[in-house]
Structure formats: structure tokens, C-alpha cells
Symmetry: D2
Subunit: 404 residues, 4 copies
Amino acid sequence: MSTFGHNFRVTTYGESHCLSVGCIVDGCPPGMALSEADIQPQMTRRRPGQSAITTPRNEKDRVEIQSGTEFGITLGTPIGLRVMNENQRKQDYGNNTMDLYPRPSHADWTYLEKYGVKASSGGGRSSARETIGRVAAGAIAEKYLREAYGVEIVAFVASIGNEFLFPPTLAHRTASTNPEFLKLIETIDRKTVDSFLPVRCPNEESSQRMEKLVAEFRDRQDSIGGTVTCVIRNCPSGLGEPCFDKLEATLAHAMLSIPATKAFEIGSGFGGCQVPGSIHNDPFIKAPSVPALHTGTSPSVPRPRLTTKTNNSGGIQGGISNGAPIYFTVGFKPPATIGQAQNTTTYDENEGVLEAKGRHDPCVVPRAVPIVESMAALVVIDAVLAQQARQMARSLLPALKSQQ
Amino acid sequence: MSTFGHNFRVTTYGESHCLSVGCIVDGCPPGMALSEADIQPQMTRRRPGQSAITTPRNEKDRVEIQSGTEFGITLGTPIGLRVMNENQRKQDYGNNTMDLYPRPSHADWTYLEKYGVKASSGGGRSSARETIGRVAAGAIAEKYLREAYGVEIVAFVASIGNEFLFPPTLAHRTASTNPEFLKLIETIDRKTVDSFLPVRCPNEESSQRMEKLVAEFRDRQDSIGGTVTCVIRNCPSGLGEPCFDKLEATLAHAMLSIPATKAFEIGSGFGGCQVPGSIHNDPFIKAPSVPALHTGTSPSVPRPRLTTKTNNSGGIQGGISNGAPIYFTVGFKPPATIGQAQNTTTYDENEGVLEAKGRHDPCVVPRAVPIVESMAALVVIDAVLAQQARQMARSLLPALKSQQ
Amino acid sequence: MSTFGHNFRVTTYGESHCLSVGCIVDGCPPGMALSEADIQPQMTRRRPGQSAITTPRNEKDRVEIQSGTEFGITLGTPIGLRVMNENQRKQDYGNNTMDLYPRPSHADWTYLEKYGVKASSGGGRSSARETIGRVAAGAIAEKYLREAYGVEIVAFVASIGNEFLFPPTLAHRTASTNPEFLKLIETIDRKTVDSFLPVRCPNEESSQRMEKLVAEFRDRQDSIGGTVTCVIRNCPSGLGEPCFDKLEATLAHAMLSIPATKAFEIGSGFGGCQVPGSIHNDPFIKAPSVPALHTGTSPSVPRPRLTTKTNNSGGIQGGISNGAPIYFTVGFKPPATIGQAQNTTTYDENEGVLEAKGRHDPCVVPRAVPIVESMAALVVIDAVLAQQARQMARSLLPALKSQQ
Amino acid sequence: MSTFGHNFRVTTYGESHCLSVGCIVDGCPPGMALSEADIQPQMTRRRPGQSAITTPRNEKDRVEIQSGTEFGITLGTPIGLRVMNENQRKQDYGNNTMDLYPRPSHADWTYLEKYGVKASSGGGRSSARETIGRVAAGAIAEKYLREAYGVEIVAFVASIGNEFLFPPTLAHRTASTNPEFLKLIETIDRKTVDSFLPVRCPNEESSQRMEKLVAEFRDRQDSIGGTVTCVIRNCPSGLGEPCFDKLEATLAHAMLSIPATKAFEIGSGFGGCQVPGSIHNDPFIKAPSVPALHTGTSPSVPRPRLTTKTNNSGGIQGGISNGAPIYFTVGFKPPATIGQAQNTTTYDENEGVLEAKGRHDPCVVPRAVPIVESMAALVVIDAVLAQQARQMARSLLPALKSQQ
């Protein structure tokens, strides 16, 4: 099913060659200011080589709100969102090369196995265009999280091929023990990330090495993967549901649902498996006091009284957020579409050579940045709404004598 | 919510100190032979240092079927499963050390933040005992998958600390390009894995190095993590739902929901991000013919006509299984309970020193093996039932003229 | 949440004054011929005074498929459907009468209580326009059910005010014991129902009495309710999930979710509560043989070997369909919008008189007919897909020795 | 699936002849005092001829909490509940009469059609024993609703056969326009209802007529049905989700999921279809002030500022509760098990005569009273938790300028 989330529920539709793509966002809190202007920037960042500050003239992938708001305010009812497709395929062109071969490491073959129907776009819903609905919905989620809790979600490119922003070392088998990394995730913002376009790796030197590497792959008509790291700051504590819907589990689910992803790690990740428990454990310390979020009529949300001295846990313990920054890394494989000829086999089991035409993007990792942010927002808002219900439910009970 | 799956749905209950732990399995196909003897072996493998061939005398964690079967046959109705707890806490002992401190990197603090109630067991549902219900349910799922499709699910320890079964090398940045690894996952079985107890790493030399490493950590009253690799063979093609419930996404969700996990990778994983697309792409070849599964009255399930020459995809493309072996690796952090004293802070924000008493397991990765297998089975059966519905729905439609 | 169904899942969006209304249909089987022409007739029947055979010229409520089909064939992916609104409200007109008063027995007040935001349309989502998405989705469901099983769903008006098609009598406290009623539901079709427009009650005399009654209420600027009876023929047996999702329970859910409904009865209904068990029980008889549905390549679906002699059960026993016709009746209250002045109270707690302007429909029951049919189709297809999964899952297991 | 509810989710297991029946309650708010003593009274009322004040000595259907509480306080984690069966069937007795015939209007036949497996109990999950889990879960829900909002849920028998507590008259085609009925539902409590055992109809004269009627049916070895009316007082406003999960829709779903139910009406119901809109509409009036619920530390929940003068809506408008008493009626068919011989057909399609042995209950309606109350509680708490989430989500947003 094309639905994500339980309390803030996104249902998407659309493939490459149909009339439009879009989604329905159900469960958005009522009474929030919302217009297309809140959504469009991330839509634009998702397009090749664009930053949020790009001029919106002649914009493509223009989102249009169908329902759920009135006079710029959310009603609490489902928000319909639509983006037109420009590349509709009106008729079946028959046996061209693309129709003869399932493309290697694309979804053409598996979609046929699943549905028994061959879509002209190959794996129709596996198209990158499917992510448009996610990004639109994520922008709405983010707005709520920012307004209600001051949540900040920022992703950036952490590696391309074997060029790393924080290469693993003997001293730091995981970036989670590296103070420089921790400092970066405390402060990084989207504007800074976009200032390192086209690669979106927020470090001058790494960024240049990555750009050079991508150029090499482009020239060879080959492709290369990479990783994106994302941090969620000011996330309230208590998010995540034991035992199957731990917060890291739903984050992993969300991230591995993005096309071309192969790996996920939270906090110390795979590197943390090599760190002794005596170092990996995050001792508790008293939390610094934090100013109230809103000075207006809305209540501020209290921050936890304790926090952790280190953060190998990545802000989540026992599957539940502890209020510290949540950070994770997602691995993207090299794009399957390459210019080189490939020896493979047709749908009819005949061996042959497939050659893709046209220009291809040798590395999609920088474009994945807003998609990762969007999916993170969808996970967090869903967990927030669940926890808000629990807190309010509890608050209405008479006080217990023996408990606080 | 403590529920996993949509079509084969498992709901678990229980924490460390209550009367019992267990689950309800809803959606098990009717007409399958099932008794406690099908479930107990994985329950036993889950206990410290046990193999499936251990004598069942004086067995602990004995599972009892409450409902859903009659005369050893599943009725199709919910299967209640229960395992008694032996360590119930009958009253509150008040302010002992454990009650003063939230244990570092445990769930004590976050559960209190979430629920506002301090359970005597700390994070009650984050206990390893919670996994009993998963393993029991997984054993039922596995039985169906084996009987209907011949599915085989085998997990093993791939690393402990910095001792690896297949260390990454310049030639093989990911095991997925290593022929030795591919050969292992084609053939490995549980009996072989258990013959390498206590570490469950199926290689004499690696196994000994890991055992030695664990002993060192035990002697230092420290702990260490590691990784588990799991392979699913004979999985039917067409499993996994676009776009949010891709098969790797639900696998990642399942694995990151296991206590102490920090990372997940499918197929080539993080290493695959460094491999050029021209090598990473899996070309198609004609699939070898496979004998029918059942010679009895049941129909055999046809295998796909094509398969891939290499398998960097890990058996999943575009989120959908292609019939090739599915394999993935899960990272476990070092256990949070260590014998060493830890400087930390009490619930009341006072700094102090926490010392845990008793013997502690310095490495839980070998015990995680059956849990990983069980969660994999739950993911696959849920996807299988969804795909069966789709196939049967389609089969009842009149044939289309223009399609195959 | 604005979602209905688990396996065939419909999510709707839209209120009266927004850009468009529509829905996403997820889970439609792949490989089915589908175009707007399959959907439009029920959309048209839903409009005031229209039959399916009305000329489509200058048609309103024109549905547009956004996705999920290609070259007229369903892909198995989500089907986006959209219908433009013509009555958008571009700005807030401020304190007119409608904005001062919550209209009696409308949703204005309760929507404000729920969301804390006052929509210009009063209870935005409670608008009759919301049912457009249901009818569109229902038409797709119906097409599948018809093609795969020959299912026929026909609803008609059974009463308006105190004019009944089958008035309860001492001999027949429920229509379920009345042979004339049983004969009608065996044969009635939509064309016949529409030949009795504007009331859609398939009996000349009753129809005329009803028309006269509605005219009286119209002249008094008052309104009146009524009931709709619906029959589902050729429904496969085995549908409905114990114990919470019995087929009558999900039908009741579906029907009471239609605006203005107050009551539901399945089979003998409330009248059946007065019938002795010895008469109410439906004895089993051998079922007549039924010709195979398709003569083409598709398999026919076998009908049950037994059926019931009488049908007080309404085709459902123990919550599960038995293959006999399923029939039920839905009660609709009189429309809340009336021309008469009403003494009531403003949002600001001031007493006053509310007068609605314009022409109002004194009786909406005839228009409810296609909505009832659509919701019935959504219930049945969801249950069909669940049961298909179960049947296929069971069919792959090895045969049991002791069972058939 | 055997699951009810989204936020307060009940999953049940068990049939007549297995080891135990029970359920898992997931989503119960943490910090509530809860023990078996809160649950047992409704369990006891569910047994034949028992009131809540019956002495608990030698009690049957004794419920045992497995998990989710500690020291008598809910932890917020799943609550496992179990009740032992006393009537286990240890082996298959073969071809006795019961095994040859599908009992008329029982679930024996449809369960076989559904699952392809014949359970010894006929339709295993359709057994009345299945309702034990509902009643246990409902008692927990009720406790929360009472403590947090002062909600009172009371059901009573409104008719048996053709003996009515409030027979429909020309003046009052629906009880909703009858002041006596409205007065009764404002004040009725469970103690009063149980004082009219065995029929639970709270009126001396009606009660005696009903008792006599049941005796007649018993003597004839026949059975008779009836109706149960239920009122929910002090229900907060704003409950119910547009558009598919209107509060009356989920109530109808819940009620029609109870074994032997055939009909449901909310507020004016079927009778209301005959009442002119000018009378049926409920005008608004200023609500009387209500004292705060708790005088302790918990906040009181504000009541709506407006209420309705009449209550034909049954406390729900546009699918959303308005704060007025919610009331509805449920129809139960005559029990299918009767002492008389019945001409019917065997599983093998042979005509014959089925005679049931032993004593049978000629009317189960009085026992349905606590089941109706329990299902009502499950519906309301699920809606309450959804609405609490919405309210808290909205409360954290900054205030809008133009809105209140």
C-alpha cells in the first residue's frame, strides 16, 4: 500500500507517464497557517542542481493544494496535493529496445513479476517522480514540527564513492565519537548545505574532492553512490513506540523506502559495533535549561531534565527519543542507468546488449538530501502525534498517591 | 503499538517482571499442521548458549499454544501463545541503587519520559524477554513459508568487534562482490551455524578469534557488539509493496526493532555505495530450471524465468524480490550492562557512580541469530500473503487481448 | 482518518468550497480494463434527478483518472481520481447569517468543537460533495466484482416517510419472511430502479404515493427521510472476518458513514427480533448448480454446495457470507436544511431565528441509492481480497491426511 | 483480523474448546490504577443470570492480568488478559449428529466455507465465549473514561419479541421524541438495570410481560430475540472522524460485530425517517454549566458552551459527538439453538432431521447488556484518544490572528 504513517498519514499516487503525481495528507493538525509557499522550496531543492533560494520563475514541479485549507489555514481535514506530469506517454510505442529488456538493477523485471502488467515506464511507481508526494507531505510535517517544537531537520552528503566527510579512522571507527562531527550536527543548516551545491557536502575540501569524483564517473559513462547524514534537533523526548515501532525502526523503514537506498545506521551505527560498551554507553548529565519556544500564547514544551554527556545512541534509547539530537546515515547505491553498454537478457530470455541513450545523472546523492529530510519529518510527526495523545490521556487521570 | 505485520499480524505483550509474556498471531493460514514442537526449537536457540539440538529436559521458556489449533491443525483463527515468567517482582523494594539511577544507554530514562511511570524493570518492554513473542511467532511463519515455498532462512554472526568473517578489502569493499561470501549464503544451514557455538560464526578461524575477543571483554567487565548476516533462500518473486513498504524497508523496520540494533544493510549495503554502477548493476540471465516443490497434491510455485548473474541487489530490486537469495546484515551495539563502575546522574539530577552487580553477558550477538531469523520470517510471510491476494485477484479477471 | 478498507483502500479528500474533491484507490487488482467511462455513470446517478442513461452532454462532476492505468488497463498501482469543484469560496465574507449560527442538526457546531477552526462551509467534510470520492471508488470496485464473480449490487428506495414499499404487517413483521420481497431482490436491476425516477422505488403505486408525499413536504418548506434497501447477488461465500470485522459489521460501518444515515439492518433486521427462532432459522438445502461465470480463459469460481431454504440471515451467518443474496436496509433522516425559520442560538450563545435561503431538496433518499451501492461494493471487495489471500495461502500447503 | 480500535487496540483470541480465551489491550493510558477487581464485575454480569453484586465465591470466567501493570498501576504497555476454558475438547469424537449437520443459522457452514477446516465447535470464533475478551477490554476502557471524563455507559433491554419498553406510537414513531424515554436515559444506572433481572428491562410492568414471554418460548422449546438500548452520558464533544469513521459508524460496526445482532439505530433511528425535518432538527440552546469533574489535581474537561434542546440526533451530528447523551439501540435475533427438531441438510448434502440436546437459553438479550456496554466503551475510548491527540497538537501551535 502507498501509505505512510498512522496519525499523520500520507498516501501517494502517480508514476512517470500518467497525468499527475500527488498525495493526500491526512491528520494534519488544524489551525496551522499553510500555503503552497511552505511546500515549494523543498520541491525545488529536490530538482537537479537547485537550492531553496533559486528564483521560482518558470518553475517546474509546481505543487497545488486541492483541499484541507481555507484562507491559508489548515482545517484538520485531508490535504490533497497535486503536481502535473509533463512527460505523459499517450500510446504504446511497441518493441523499442527499452521494451525488450528489463534494465539491470532497475525495477522493470520485478514490477512485471509482481503485477503481471508491463508499464511503459518500467517499474512505474519505482520512478524518482514518486518521491514528489513524499517531499510535499514532508514539508507540511516539518512546518508543524518547527512551529510546535522548534524542530530542525537538516541532511547533507557525508560521502560519495570513497570520498568521505568524516572517514572512519582507528581513533574514530564511528563518527559518533568524533567531536568535530558532533559539533557539525549541532549547528549545520540548510542554507549552508546548499551553499555547497552541487554536492551538498558542507566542507570545502571534501566537497571539491567529491565533485571531481563525480566528474570522473560522468566522463566514463558510469555512476557512483554515496551517503547522506541527517540530524533532527529539538526533537521532543518520549517518541517511538515499543516494541516494533521503535523510533530507529520507523526511521529505517522510511529511509529504506527511498529509491536506491541500501543501508541505514542510527547513532554510532556499524562502527559502534566495534566500540567497547564502557565507551559506547552515554552517561547522563543534568540538561542545560532551554528558553521557552514561543513567547506568544502557545505553551512552551518542557525539555527533559537530564541529557546524555556523549551521544553514541544517536538520540534514541530503547527505541524512544531522549531529547538529544537524533542523527542517522543512509547509503545510496550507484544509479542503475549508465551510458555504458550492458550484456544482459531480454524479457524473452534472449541474451543481448542494452545501451541506454541520453544524458544520465552519474550521482543522485545530492538530490536525495531533501527526500531524506522529508521522510524524517514524516516519521517524527507521526511519533509526536502518538505521544501527544498519550500525554494528554495521562494528564486527565487523577493523580496517583505513590507516583509523581 | 506492539503489533507487527498487516496480513500475518503479531501482537506481543509482557515485560520482565510480570506474570507471563506472549503474543497473538492473527492471519496464520488454516489447515497447517502445528504444535509446540514446531515452535520450541527457536525458543531454545534464543536462550544463552543453546542449540536447537539441545536436549529439551528441564527446558525453560516453554511455549504453550492457547488457541487457534485443533488436533494439531491450524484453524485460521488467532493463535494465542504464552510463556511464563520466572522472575516476577511482587512488590516495590524502594530506593535501591537501580531505582535511583537511569542506567546509561538503557531504556530506563526514555520509558519514564514516555510514560511518566517508572517500571521496576526500568524500560519494561525494552527487555530482551520481549523478543520471546517474536521468536514464537516467527517459528510459525517459517513453518508456513517452508511448507508452501521451501523458503530457508539462516542467520549467522558476521563480526564481533573488529573481528570479521569477511573483512572489507580494497578488492571487495562489500561482501556482495566476494564469491566466497556468495557461496556461503547459498549453502549455509542452521545446524552448521550452531556447530560453531558459542559464537555462531560459521568459520573455524574467525570463530576462534571472536571467542577470544569476547573473553577479553568479559575479563575487563566490558562489552562488545557485532553484526549478524541473514540469508533468505527460495523466496518467491514479487514480494514488497511500492513505494513505502518496499521489502528492504520492512526488513529494515523489523531488524531495527530488535533491541540493541544500530544498523542495517541490504545486498551490497554501505560498501556498495563505493562500487561503480557498471559493476554494481546485476545483469539478467536465464534462470536455471528448478524442480517442483511438492510432489503431492499441492501445486508447485513457479520460479521466475530470469535471474541475475551477480547479486549486489541482495535479491530485491525496486523494493520487490526477484527470486534470488535475499541477504542483509544487522549491527548490534555493545550491551549497555557492564560490570565497570559508571559516572552518571540520578533521576533527581545528582551526579554519582552506578555499579551493576552480578554476571553480565559481554556479547549478545550470537543469541540474536534466531531473533533476526524470526523477524525476517515475519516480514516475508506478510509480503507473501499480500502478493498471493494480488495474484489470485488478477487470475480471476478475464484475459486481456493486448497483454500476455 | 478519511480512509476506508484494508486491502482495497480508498482515501478521500475535499470539502465543498475547495479546488477539487477526489480520492486515491489503492489495491485495485492489476490487469483490469478501466477508463472514466466505467466510473462516470454512477457519478451521474448521484446527481439530482439523473439516471445512468442520461445524456452525458454538458456533464458535471466529471471524473478524471490521474494515475494507476496505462492504455486503459490497471497497473495495480494507486489510482488517483479527481473531480473539480465549481463553487469555490475565494474569501471570507464575514458575519452573514450563516456565519453567525451553527445550523441545527448540521455539522457546523460539531466540526468547530472538533477542530477549533470554523470552515466557511460549516462542517466541510460532512458535505454531500464528500461522497463523490466514494462513488468513484465504488464504481471501480464494482467493475472488478462483476468481472471476477458476476456480483450484482442494486439498491432502491424502500420507504419515504411513512410510505413503504413493503409495510410491516402482523404476518410479516419483517420483509425477510415476505415472498414478494424475496422475489424482488432476486431480480431487481438498476435500469428498472431508474425507470422509477425521481423516487427510485420500483413499484408503480408506492412510487406515486412517495412522490406525492415529497411534494407535500416541499410545499411546506419541510423535509422528510426514508430508507434504502440494497441487495448483493452472486457474492462469494466465506467473506467477513471474525470476530470484529463480521461482514454485517463492516456493512453497517460503511452505511452509517454515509451522511444523514441513522439506522441499519441486515436480513430480518429489527423485525426479525420478533420472529420465533423456529421460523427465523434458515434450514440448509442442496444448492442448485450454477453455470460457470466465464467461458474464456479465466477460471470460474465454484459456488457453495449448500444454500439456505429461507434467507432471514440476509446471506450472512456468523459474520460470514454463505453465498445467498445479501440484503440490508439503511435509514436516512430528513434533510437538516429546511426553508422554515428555526429558533436556535448563535455561536456566541445568543438566541435568534435562522432562515435558510434558496431552494432545498426536501428528500435526498433517491440520490442516496448509488452511494449505498458504492459503499457496499467497497465492503465486498475488501472482504473478497482478504478471503482470496486466505484461500491461496491454504492451497499451497501440503494436503492433510485427516482433513478433506 | 481479530483486532478492534486504532489507538486503544484490542486483539482477542480463543474459541470454545481451546485452552483459554483472552486478549491484549494495547494503548491503555499509563498511570491508571487497575486490577482484576475493576474487570471482574462486567465479566460476571455477562454470565447467565448474574448481577455485578453477586457474591464472587466460586466464580467462573475469572480474569487474570498477565502484563502491563505493576503494583496496581498501568504502565502504558500492552495488557495481557486471560480466562481459562473449562470445556476443552481433547480429541475428535467423529461422526456424531453435530458433526454431520451444519446447524441452521449457526456459523458452522460459513466457517467451513471460509477456512476449509471444520472446527469441533462448529464456528469456533463465533462462539459466545469470544465475547469474554471484549468485555474484559471494555471494562478497562470504561475505567479510563469514567476517571478522566466521568463518562457513564448504561445499557438495558428495550424489547423482547413484541413486548416493548417504549412501543412505537403514532405520536412517537421513535422513542427519541418521547419525553419519558429521554428522562430514562438521563438517569438510568446499572444497579437499577440489574434490579430487574433476569430481563434487565428497567420497568416493573414491561419486565414482567417480557419474563412471561420468554417463559412461553422456553416451554415451546423455541427462542425469541429482542433489543438493547444503550446510553453514553458525559461523553466529550468532538469525537468521531470524518468521513468514514463517523462516531455512529464505528458504533454500528462495534454493535453489529456482537454475535446474533441484526440491526442498529442511533438517535431517532428508523422511526426518525418518518419525522418531518422541522421537528427532527435539534435547535441549539445555551448549555447549563457543569461542575468540574475532579476536585483533585487533575484538570476538569470543559463542556461545550452550547447543547441541543431536543436530541433526535442521539448526541452525534455530522458524525461527531456534540456533548449531549449518545443513545442507540441494537437488535438481536432469536438464538439459533432450539430444542425443536429441524429439517435441514448434512455437510454431505443429505436431507435429514437435526435435534439439539440439552437445555438452551430461549433469549440471550439480557446477557448482551454488558457486551453492548463494553463495545460502546471501546468505540468511545478510541475516539477520545484520537481527539486528544488533535487537541494537544493544535494547542502547541502559535495562535492565529484572525481565529479565536
